[in-house]
Symmetry: C2
Amino acid sequence: MLFFTFFTFFTVSGTAVSDPIVHDAEHYILEAQFGERWQQEDRQLNRRLAELREKHGTPPNIVHIMWDDTALGEVGIPAIQSVRGFKTPNINQMANDGINFMRMYTEPACTPTRAAFQTGRYAVRSGMHTVSFPVEYSGMDAGEVTIAEVLDKAGYNTAFFGKWHLGDTEFSYAHKQGYDEAFFTPYNQVPSMWIPQAEVANVITGLYPDLHGEDQYDLDQSHQPRGVVWTIEGTKGGPSREWGPPPDIKNYWDIETEAQKRTLAFIDKSVADKKPFFISYQPILTAFFPDPREKKRLTANKNVGAEGLVKLDAFVGKLFEHLQSQGVAENTLVIVMADNGPFIHYGPRGMVETLYRGGKGDFTEGGVRVPMLATWPGVIKPGQIVGDILHVTDLYTTFANLGGAKKYIPRDRIIDGVDQTSLFLNGDGFSRRDYVMIYQGPNLAAGVKGRFKRDWKNAEVGLSKNEFYDLFTDPREMHGEMIEQFHVKSMFNRQRQRHELWIKKYPNRPDATPGPALTGLENVRPETVEIYTAPVDPKKLPFDPQEVSEQPLPFSGSDL
Amino acid sequence: MLFFTFFTFFTVSGTAVSDPIVHDAEHYILEAQFGERWQQEDRQLNRRLAELREKHGTPPNIVHIMWDDTALGEVGIPAIQSVRGFKTPNINQMANDGINFMRMYTEPACTPTRAAFQTGRYAVRSGMHTVSFPVEYSGMDAGEVTIAEVLDKAGYNTAFFGKWHLGDTEFSYAHKQGYDEAFFTPYNQVPSMWIPQAEVANVITGLYPDLHGEDQYDLDQSHQPRGVVWTIEGTKGGPSREWGPPPDIKNYWDIETEAQKRTLAFIDKSVADKKPFFISYQPILTAFFPDPREKKRLTANKNVGAEGLVKLDAFVGKLFEHLQSQGVAENTLVIVMADNGPFIHYGPRGMVETLYRGGKGDFTEGGVRVPMLATWPGVIKPGQIVGDILHVTDLYTTFANLGGAKKYIPRDRIIDGVDQTSLFLNGDGFSRRDYVMIYQGPNLAAGVKGRFKRDWKNAEVGLSKNEFYDLFTDPREMHGEMIEQFHVKSMFNRQRQRHELWIKKYPNRPDATPGPALTGLENVRPETVEIYTAPVDPKKLPFDPQEVSEQPLPFSGSDL
């Protein structure tokens, strides 16, 4: 039975495209039904893109902004903001000027979503399925092919600014992963509190043990690092440098300011170069400490998430002005989105559910369904609400197609991202996806197909009632059904079997690739050296530290 | 201390208006601060209303539509509807043409909200605090003064069509409570299933015991009625009649069709009379059985609530066309709203939370914060989102003010409704209310003041953490706070003390007023006679049935 199914796919795929991208198995079920319609659409879309390229002299510029931990509905819908006590007029204006996507799926946490965006693959495939924390001693493998690498081959200027969060090994640095220019934090925002001032403010992390009173029981001086690096800058082929002074409460927000400044400057440089540009700016948005430069909060809500969004919103306004003044507004696709749901579990006050249940880390819709808005004057029609399913990996394939770079997408691995050019240009109802597989770390937790969702994680033997959901009638996944939805049981079984078969054929990387942390910095500090230097003399140990770092780890709570 | 506070109010109120309406005590705290600004606004607003009256020859017409069980956000926000699988384009258009209110509070269930709307008073004051079910043998007291009585005195044609749900006693019939014309169901939609066909479909209610197999233990034939009345029609001073054939699955939806037909006809009649009209149409919206006339559902969602909204939406479109064709569109305020939150506890599939937690019966925001939209071409500015607090009782006072009928509002009782003319005409930020008291049945469950909310019901001794909420940062009332919000504790204490003092001065009616059910119908059926006839010979009883009906009842679950 499996073999039959397998060969069926192969034939369909084989007849449709020569040198095809390998998609997840589910894709071919749709292609078998809609492949001809898609081909017709593609002919029209390709003509349209060729006309635009003719008109502007280059393929479109792409500015991608992706921030943290925001529930679907929190931006882009002014009515909802009126009940939450903050306003993002510039982001909301994007809903008037373009598309407000209501069903963009991501991975459930920062590192996995960012890996999926960069590679066009579910994070589980690149091994980047868990959230990295300082010091991680691992990172995204050099063998992954980022969207920057793909667009670079088609002649794009590429830049990454902001929160990278894809590892602290040198091979995983953004400018080693295909970006011409990079200014990035290897970690998330957690190190914002790892400063002497935070230690004094009773957030005792132990990073500065000289601030403790004497602890006679504190024997092992090798167990944790004595410092951290906030930001690294580099250019393709050029040196890597730590940016800014050593971490201090006065400087954290300077990272954001600098990332924004560099975003605008990179536009100017590319316009001067007469080259198309791709910029992914991933704001730090917030810190675990309020901005010490501010006397008064910007919102009635006052929580760090709302404050961060309002600050980002001001930059979005500036960005549009800048694109206009540089004469490239019409040839630029701007996308703003969140990376996963709100930080509702042990997160800061005010990070809450909006339309969906769950948040960061969860496989319920609240964890993986994020706000996303897109504008492209004259190409994307204004004022659209799009209810179709799309996935963060689709941006990879879609950007590649828009940039004329589809041929540079690797063919030796599964690319989950499908080309959604038709959805962006033709609007509601034109998605080429009706399914998503939702992983938590390395575990497949749930499957989505259209309005139906199957929870594989909490399902219990004995008609547990936690298994099947209809997302139109039960959007919050509160009332699991069995009898009412048994008709989708084997449908999801087949969907999963196809998915597993494809993994057998194209295996996942088991984990993030290990390596020494924070090496290769030109302006290295003593604290940094301590991080990547063996803290005890390895010769005194009966085991090899390198071999230790390669041991598999169990997936645990803090990993997501 | 209480006395001091009391006299303070009296002075403020006494100096501000002669022959003032008695409001809830909290109002005077605001009036003391903003009374002068309000007076200035009122002078301008009165000029504006006088100009409009001059232009149109009458004060404005008012069409009020209030349906059941809908969460804030379910209508008026197309982005949310796109994730729920249904569309109400005509109602949504009202958000473009007028105001989308994001903070309209009601009572938590049908009967209380409808009583509050009719009387301008919290339902607890009129004794109408619990949901009436067939057969109830009680109803809204004749001494209550409805908005129809108030507007009638100012020369309005008044009509009520649809779900009345304010008792089954003759004195509580809609045309005995001030409406010139009435066509109404004395109960809610529950009797829609009390038909022989439903009994056969295994919804055994016992209303038709001849459908049971023989039950040798069924002794008491007086315990329940043997039939029910669905709809009553009448005119002021005229006879009351049961409308339509005896309840049958084929006919339930005819009630809605007829209510809509009469709504449009009443507009025609009033235009012909050259009189302003006030119509409250309260749709049945749905039944506990699908509409047997339909072969196919109207929505992808398919649940009864969504289906009902889409059907209602078509009527809203027709209504606007009709007002236009009758030449009165410009002089008509149209308000559409729900009566309380969704029926999430033991209600039909697909009735779910949207932005807020809880539903019908709950004091959390999900129970009492409903969608409301209002249009008034040329008077209400288009495209507004209003985040101010208002309460369903405010419609009473506001309608009275718009109709030049404020002087007919009774002065011998508390009128909770405040005049919100300024909010309707001037928009966001112009509410004259920043507080709400939320009752569940006769019990005060929670208080709202601005962004703060205090839960009095679940608060436990010992810092229970269930007590204080910030509705901007914790809209779903998930994370009760104590230490963080102790600053509002005594603020809420004072608010409640003022409220209780005022109740002492102007006492509530304890309950709905008792009486025989469904009397006074001209075309009485034998089943109806059985309902109001003592089922056993009263002479054989050692107690008086009338005295029995006057005994107080405990407040229980099914009451809300």
